[in-house]
Symmetry: C2
Subunit: 205 residues, 2 copies
DNA sequence: CGGCCCTTTGACGGACGTCAAATAGCGTGG
DNA sequence: CCACGCTATTTGACGTCCGTCAAAGGGCCG
């Protein structure tokens, strides 16, 4: 899935900005190069559910590979730079590599299923621990973190929106995590101090 | 995606039986012809989360299109008959029709996202109402229900496993729905008596 | 310095879970 | 057809996790 030849352009988006809406018509495929974003849904009552965080290297809504209608809102968290490709052009090249596409597909589906399991069957503590660990793991896999410390641009309301909780409860649990010496947060950076304990809470052996 | 020529065979599975496990190796693609099944995950503590119900016409785990490892357990609810196709053979034919594949893909992803939203942000009442309405809708689309009445082979523990609730709480809410004249359940069949009210509860205008 | 957003903290309430016991169905075998 | 046993469902009392509300600090930027 090398697409260097068909780069449409590269663009930079300020933080807290909407990249695309569910009603938009988008004829390009976007990949995040730097920064964090989130794809999410907002309910009539104003509640928000973040479906996934987009980190550098992620595709913005793989549904856009197949049709121009985004399935949900995508919003930047930090400033984001990304590359856009013409959709039909991109798919002409990608079709040959169905394998790479299927990896994308399966990865997204597994992520969505994991989220459902967390929200359906785990406590607030478990959900937050799992969120932290999964973000760390994804960043480490991409060489963007060393294993115990990572950039952490999320506000507590992002954590709340991702875990199905309220910002108030997230605050209580995060300060509790800190008091128990599990993590350290300062200056938009998060350090996992007691990895084993955090994994135990997350239900990972 | 017509595959009549490559049917491997047709098989019948009794109710309450496991079709495939996450550790299995399956080199065929299965489609449900009759009956209901569920794909689900079980946690170490015994909790279960149903990720989707499989109705006649559904593919059993579309991940199996691309690799032989199921991502979760699939279990029959009623007796199920299904058709199996050789995976590589099936994909050879399907690759030409990327459009049909993408419809499958997007449908599954949307289903998974809807589930996460329900579990993260909706009350027990809303979740159950939405489950009933979505099952009805899917059956009607396939001509398997007339719009107000459907076969309903689910036990309350299935509803609980799908909505992230306990069987006890599901029982209380279902009897409440019945007392309020919203639905009628008898003899493994469910009738929506007050569709408008049920939709209102579900948050669908 | 003032305003805004974010975080923290505490008191309180409600939705849902847990536990337990009673009842109802349902299939099996006598 | 009845007896039995198992599994589902119902119901009530009670507990707890998490939400709501409100107020009081931080931190950052003009």
């Amino acid at each position: 899935m090398r697409g260097d030849a068909i780069v449409q352009n590269e663009l930079t988006i300020p933080r807290r900005r909407i990249i695309c809406r569910a009603q938009d018509l988008i004829d390009s495929v976007l990949f995040v190069c730097e920064g964090w974003a989130a794809s999410l849904v907002t309910l009539p009552n104003g509640d928000r559910q973040i479906l996934s965080f987009l980190l550098p290297g992620d595709i913005v809504s793989s549904a856009l590979l197949f049709r121009p209608n985004p399935s949900c809102l995508v919003e930047t968290i930090t400033e984001v730079t990304c590359r856009s490709f013409d959709r039909t052009e991109f798919m002409r090249k990608a079709t040959a590599e169905l394998g790479a596409l299927s990896v994308l597909w399966i990865g997204e589906k597994e992520g969505a299923d994991r989220l459902a399991i967390d929200l359906g069957r785990r406590t607030a503590e478990e959900r937050i621990a799992r969120l932290i660990l999964s973000l760390m793991e994804r960043l480490v896999m991409r060489g963007l973190a060393q294993g115990t410390t990572m950039d952490f641009p999320l506000r507590q309301h992002h954590v709340a929106d991702a875990t199905g909780l309220t910002p108030v409860h997230v605050s209580k649990l995060l300060t509790d995590f800190r008091r128990r010496g599990l993590i350290r947060i300062s200056d938009r950076s998060l350090e996992i101090v007691d990895d084993a304990a955090l994994r135990r809470i997350a239900g990972l052996r």
